[in-house]
Symmetry: C2
Amino acid sequence: MAFNDEYFMKMALAEATQALEKDEVPVGCVVVSQNRIIAKAHNLTETLNDVTAHAEMQAITSAADFIGGKYLHNCTLYVTLEPCVMCAGALNWSQISKVVIGARDEQRGFINKNLYLHPKTEIVLGILENECSQIVKEFFRSKR
Amino acid sequence: MAFNDEYFMKMALAEATQALEKDEVPVGCVVVSQNRIIAKAHNLTETLNDVTAHAEMQAITSAADFIGGKYLHNCTLYVTLEPCVMCAGALNWSQISKVVIGARDEQRGFINKNLYLHPKTEIVLGILENECSQIVKEFFRSKR
């Protein structure tokens, strides 16, 4: 299987599925450097009682720990749902090279807040958008 | 000594001083509930090699752990420097009751990005503004 955006987004979706199994809002992500996954995480805000425990926040900390430095240069984050303001702020500080987003989050995502990531950061939208959107929609439908 | 905003901002400044002693950007904060400090933290981004290790992020996690729930209702954060986008996003998720800010951060702070905290959150600006501003200014002056 080719190491392309769809491949790594599937890995992020597998993380989202792990969140779902814990009754967490199903968002997952992986950080990739040179075709290698160096960090992966899923949302754990309920499990940890901690609003900061979004998938991206954990993955940024974990990737930096792996690298041994705080900047995520030459790294790509694959995340199933558009990052919120908090996570976009953290990604900005990290100077990550690329962020690949599955589904948009029109209400909570950073894009409609007119926020920007670091000038060095490339953004790709819409990879496996349907699958990434569907898992979140079904979660919230089941909660009603 | 009265338990007023100046009192708790002094405690936040003491945390900032601890950051300074570690050669970190000197920002500190405390979380107060019913006149009791339930969490305190200072910036540790260099020490931990982690861009997410801002004082506020650590204090939010720590206060939620103390409370045993993720929402910081009936809590006040005293922070020496205006929170950045990441920390403002986290404070928004936390639904904290009140945020008291020492010095403004015109460039990196959330206010000039037209971001808002939670509708429930009261914001107070300018408590011990000079001291809070001075410690950061002196740090960056020493780095030039």
